[in-house]
């Protein structure tokens, strides 16, 4: 009899304990989940609904089915922006990561003096406000008054209206992007290089390995996780590029630098085609998601234990 009561008691206590524990856990997490629901799930559901409607914010929304999505695919502006975004992302990415690896390697060479100072200088651009640095470059690259053209003409090179010629505009964007974000890769790759185990290098040095051999056989393979994670984070940023386009070129001249984020912004908040914008942003999410699948796999293997 006593035994039974004991059993019931412990069972009861157990349940009580479990409830308390669950409450405790969720007490910690619920506030954040609630906020995340309100700022992510709710708006995204809202815009999913919106993407099947036509709405200019004045007249009531009108259901149009998948017309918005169909319109996007038959829209030449979309395809131009798609092309621009791809060129911009891929070219910037390749230049940034190569240049940064080169600089990070130099920076962490054992014969280089004053590492802390170099490091501080090289990561500076990344910290600047994107709007400020873009405006700054727009001033330097101005056709008549920019310092860039002055320097170029003084060494007898052709002056350009860098941000206003369809041939140069996208390359100007890429240039500013590279100036800005190479620093991010330098920071991350440098952190990666520093954390590489020293004994491996010492071992191959005894075997008489040359510098580039060490780089190719050890540094690059061992840095692969760093490249992957940092690269994917940066790729996501590149695909959604907006600030620089808005400030430097305003998508022009013509459509030569309009990117996906930029046309969504323009159509939604200048043209007030909210439904089209919502549909287009779902497309942008989808495109980013393809990159992100790899990102999440990468980050998970690094962070989650």
């Amino acid at each position: 009899m006593m035994e039974r009561i004991d059993k019931i008691n412990t069972r009861f206590l157990n349940i009580n304990y479990k409830i308390k524990k669950t409450l405790g856990i969720f007490g910690f997490i619920i506030p954040a989940l609630l906020v995340l629901f309100l700022i992510f799930i709710f708006p995204l559901v809202n815009s999913f609904w919106l993407s099947f409607h036509r709405w200019n914010l004045i007249t009531p929304p009108r259901f149009v089915g998948i017309k918005n999505y169909l319109m996007i695919f038959s829209d030449p502006v979309f395809w131009t922006s798609m092309k621009n975004t791809s060129i911009f992302s891929v070219v910037s990415f390749c230049i940034e990561i190569t240049l940064a690896f080169f600089i990070a390697q130099l920076l962490n060479h054992k014969e280089v003096k004053g590492k802390a100072i170099w490091h501080a200088i090289f990561i500076l651009p990344m910290m600047l406000t994107p709007v400020v640095l873009s405006s700054m470059w727009r001033a330097y690259l101005n056709r008549e008054f920019g310092i860039a053209n002055f320097l170029l003409t003084s060494i007898h090179l052709q002056a350009h209206a860098w941000t206003m010629e369809s041939k140069t505009a996208i390359w100007t964007l890429i240039f500013v992007e590279v100036w800005h974000k190479t620093s991010f890769f330098i920071l991350v790759i440098s952190a990666g290089i520093v954390s590489l185990p020293k004994d491996v290098f010492e071992a191959v040095e005894i075997d008489g390995a040359r510098y580039w051999q060490k780089t190719r056989m050890i540094t690059i393979p061992m840095l692969t996780p760093v490249f992957r994670v940092a690269g994917l984070f940066q790729m996501i940023e590149l695909i959604r590029i907006f600030d620089k386009v808005y400030i430097l070129t305003e998508g022009g001249p013509g459509r030569s630098t309009s990117t996906l984020s930029f046309i969504i912004f323009e159509r939604s908040f200048h043209g007030w085609q909210m439904g089209w914008g919502a549909a287009m942003s779902y497309l942008l999410i989808f495109i980013t998601m393809i990159v992100a699948v790899f990102l999440i796999r990468g980050v998970k293997t690094e962070v989650m234990r």
Partner: protein
């Protein structure tokens, strides 16, 4: 033998020189534009446009004075004194707005986020890994995709052009960031500390406040600074959701590039003011920068 030794030594010096030369080249490429902006901000509006640029000039704080509302901008010269109030720079108000918005949003994110981070680090339960994946997925959603529905919602709530609208919207990048970085921070703290407190009869919450939070303080401060920097630099949400009243600094700077004229002096001065606090902050947390920017995936 001596010859070989000598040439090797020579090689080493040339190599060192070449390396330092390349680094200097890249450093100049990086730092000259920033330096140039600072210098140009001290020129008079006319001097800014001069080419070849004047290397020796009398530094003036004219641009800064105009920005701070101590003087009236050159484009308003001849405006009646009674109209000064109307044309006075709103930069100080927007500066205050930016501070208030960044700090409030970051505090909220750190408060709510670190609690969740603790829960996600210390308890194992069904669905934990999906919550974490979900939070990481928010990084994938471009701001413009959130902005469109957010704009319609905020408009319906009549909160357009209020600081609150930005404080809430900025949580979209601050909150996931805090949860992820603080979680990896908590994971590194030894479990034994709380265990002993819990055995001594401390409640979870008390253990958190008494033992864990003091240890996590550096992490909390770093996350906080990080969030402030992210909010400070934000542009897209700010330009759409705010107008004349709740405007922050980033759109204000963009506003100097007007259709009629580019107010370069003011652009440079404003840019310098905006950038300075962020750079200072970033240097305070520079050791955590690498891991912060990658949600803890790269150890800095």
């Amino acid at each position: 033998m001596i010859e070989i030794h000598k040439s090797k030594h020579f090689n080493k010096t040339t190599r060192s020189i070449v390396m330092h030369f390349l680094l200097t080249l890249f450093a100049l490429f990086t730092i000259t534009p920033i330096f140039w902006m600072l210098i140009s901000s001290l020129k008079t509006p006319a001097e800014v446009f001069e080419l070849p640029p004047k290397m020796y000039f009398k530094p003036t704080f004219h641009n800064y004075e105009v920005l701070l509302g101590l003087k009236v901008g050159e484009e308003f010269e001849g405006v009646k004194e009674s109209d000064y109030r109307r044309v006075k720079s709103k930069f100080p108000i927007y500066f205050l707005n930016t501070i208030l918005i960044s700090i409030s949003s970051s505090l909220l994110a750190v408060g709510i986020g670190s609690l969740a981070a603790y829960g996600l680090a210390r308890f194992s339960f069904k669905g934990r890994s999906s919550i974490l994946t979900g939070i990481l997925l928010t990084k994938v959603i471009p701001p413009i995709a959130i902005l469109i529905p957010m704009y319609t919602i905020i408009r319906r709530l009549h909160l357009l052009d209020t600081r609150l609208s930005l404080i809430i919207t900025y949580l979209t990048f601050n909150l996931p960031f805090v949860v992820w970085t603080m979680r990896s921070f908590f994971l590194e703290l030894p479990l034994e500390l709380e265990d002993s407190a819990l055995i001594d009869g401390c409640s979870r919450l008390r253990a958190l406040f008494r033992i864990i939070l003091p240890l996590a303080a550096p992490g909390l401060v770093a996350s906080m600074i990080f969030c402030v920097v992210l909010s400070w630099n934000e542009f897209l949400y700010a330009i759409v959701l705010t107008g004349d009243r709740a405007r922050t600094l980033a759109p204000t700077i963009a506003g100097f590039l007007t259709d009629k004229a580019i107010l370069w002096g003011r652009l440079f001065a404003g840019g310098s003011i905006v950038v300075l606090p962020v750079v200072l902050f970033a240097f305070i947390i520079h050791k955590k920068l690498a891991s912060g920017l990658t949600f803890g995936a790269v150890k800095g």
